[in-house]
Amino acid sequence: MENDKIKSRREFIRGGARISLALAMGGIAGFAAAGISREKWVWQIDPFECTQCGRCATECVLTPSAVKCVHAFDLCGYCDLCGGYLKPNSNALSTAGENQLCPTSAISRKFIEEPYFEYIINENLCIGCGKCVKGCTSFGNGSLHLQIMHNLCVNCNQCAIARSCPSNAIRRVKASEAYLVKGDFTKD
């Protein structure tokens, strides 16, 4: 008899605690609902904020990094002497490997018509170091820039690069507009 009493008392207390915890969870849900979004969020680099510090190549949880250089062809001047392709102090004016800025020779150059050249990034080789971006931004049109490629990125809950980006250039964007490609969006 006494055992039964203890049991039912315990049940009562547990029931009460259960209800309060359920209410607490409801509260959390309700509160969080204020800032809720039906969208999925992904990480992206704002090319206007990025200062090409080089951390994109080293801080990503993936090796090689999910950050790659993309080319906004619309902005490109198709220059012969591309600031993103050739080292600024290249002694011989040739396109030999030692004169290329890219450490992995990921950029290929193709003659289009006099005097224009097209530059294409091979994403399989690019490591996201941003060297070409720096060159293109300082000497050219800035058509080369870094973006997080979403076929590679595992969408970490907190992007490891965002945490260490000195320019705070990485932010969350809606998955439906997952890229901040130059030319398609303007700095607000």
Binding site: I28, G35, I36, K40, V42, V61, V70, L75, R163, A175
Partner: protein, 427 residues
């Protein structure tokens, strides 16, 4: 003209043009106009591969719910350890290796904390569900999430070889770490400083088969420990486990070791790798139990003292803790060591110096964050004090146990002990 001098002339021209343009319009957009091609050249498109779709996130939520529902059915109705085992393998493959461990319920508590503290932070519904669903299930069925649906849990569960039993005092003491970790994780997330739980997740590197060297070491160390100490991360670190422990303690239904009535055969006592089975109360202890009232009172009165002490320690620690925030760290560094401004290799400092942000702005921001830390870490300290006080109080609360029963809070609903009970199921 030979080729070399041709290029050189063009080089000069380009530079001249650039110089005029740059000085002319200040800023760099479109220094060289886009050419008008005559050869019918078709410009390629910039490739922007789509991320995994939102629909797939909902699939994850559905899979999580299904795994937990099945897990609850296996432990409560079917009483099948086999079922749990296969579910665990599925979870390891799906949430672990296929989904690369992100997002998980454990990490999601930081998103929730941040969305509370920062109204501009948008949390997606699926992430909120990842946080809430396991807790709701736990409130009804116990920690079925831990048993079969948590990728971090199952990877440890599947490698248990020879678990050793730990003395209760050691378990209780180490068991305080998750509370401290929880408090710190919430504090860091809410101040927008860091997602500690994700950063120091020991297993996510294994799931991705790619991690910085130190994290790999940490993961392997946990797994090696896990061969002999069942689920070390779950028991002595996991911050989400704290919440699951609370909800599971008062769960409506919970796994039972015996299908009918415990006959106290003691066969199950060594079956639990996590020391989560409570024994029947010793009759001698029952006799002495009425002295407990006074001690209970003393311990209960001590709780506010613990909280005050914890709050004080938290307050004292806030300056140190706030340095985990990059802005605070940078401001502090620039003030105490102004000579770093000359250090060309310090990327953070150099970037700040060349940015449009002024020192005053930085300091103002850092002050704001530090203020948040002041309140946050005092509260965190008080919370830890409360937990210590409650743990001590628990030692003197007398509970009468008749049988061998799983400790609802600590039990992971793995189902191992069920197979050890010789009692037949009631028909």
């Amino acid at each position: 003209m030979n080729k070399g001098s041709k290029i050189a002339t063009r080089f000069l021209l380009v530079w001249l043009l650039m110089f005029t343009l740059v000085t002319g319009m200040y800023g760099q957009q479109q220094r060289f106009p886009k050419p008008e091609f005559e050869s019918g050249y078709a410009q390629p498109h910039t490739l922007t591969p789509e991320p995994r779709s939102t629909a797939m996130e909902w699939l994850d939520v559905a899979v999580l719910t299904a795994v937990m529902a099945l897990s609850a059915w296996f432990v409560l109705c079917k009483r099948s350890r086999q079922g749990i085992l296969w579910l665990s393998v599925f979870t390891l493959l799906y949430f672990g290796f296929y989904r690369d461990g992100c997002i998980c319920a454990v990490g999601s508590l930081q998103n929730v904390a941040l969305s509370f503290a920062d109204p501009s932070y948008a949390i997606s519904v699926t992430v909120l569900l990842f946080f809430l669903l396991p807790l709701i299930f736990s409130l009804f069925f116990g920690r079925v999430f831990c048993g079969a649906a948590c990728p971090l849990g199952v990877i440890q569960d599947l490698i248990i070889v020879k678990p050793i039993s730990m003395p209760s005092w050691l378990r209780k003491t180490l068991g305080l770490i998750p509370y401290i970790y929880l408090a710190l994780a919430l504090l860091f997330a809410a101040t927008g400083s860091d997602f500690l739980v994700c950063r120091y997740d020991p297993f996510v590197g294994i799931f991705r088969m790619d991690a910085p060297f130190l994290m790999t070491i940490l993961g392997v160390a946990f797994l090696l420990t896990g061969l002999f100490i069942g689920r070390p991360y779950c028991r002595f670190l996991c911050p989400y486990g704290v919440l699951l422990n609370w909800t599971s303690t008062v769960s409506k239904w919970h796994l039972t070791i015996t299908p009918a009535h415990c006959i106290r055969c003691k066969l199950c006592t060594t079956s639990c790798p996590f020391d989560a089975i409570d024994r029947p109360t010793d009759p001698k202890v029952i006799k002495g139990s009425h002295d407990g009232a006074k001690r209970f009172l003393v311990y209960a009165l001590l709780i506010p003292v613990w909280m005050a002490a914890g709050g004080f320690v938290g307050f004292k620690a806030h300056i140190r803790l706030s340095k985990a925030n990059p802005d605070v760290y940078l401001a502090e560094l620039l003030i105490t060591h102004p000579e770093v401004k000359k250090d060309r290799d310090n990327i953070d400092v150099q970037t700040f110096l060349s940015s449009a942000k002024t020192m005053d702005q930085l300091v103002e921001e850092a002050r704001g964050i530090r203020r948040k830390f002041k309140y946050g870490s005092t509260a965190a300290g008080a919370f830890i004090g409360l937990v210590i006080g409650m743990t001590l109080l628990n030692q003197v609360i007398f509970r009468r146990n008749e049988d061998y029963v799983p400790n609802n809070g600590a039990c992971f609903s793995c189902g191992r002990c069920m197979d050890f009970c010789p009692v037949e199921r009631k028909s």
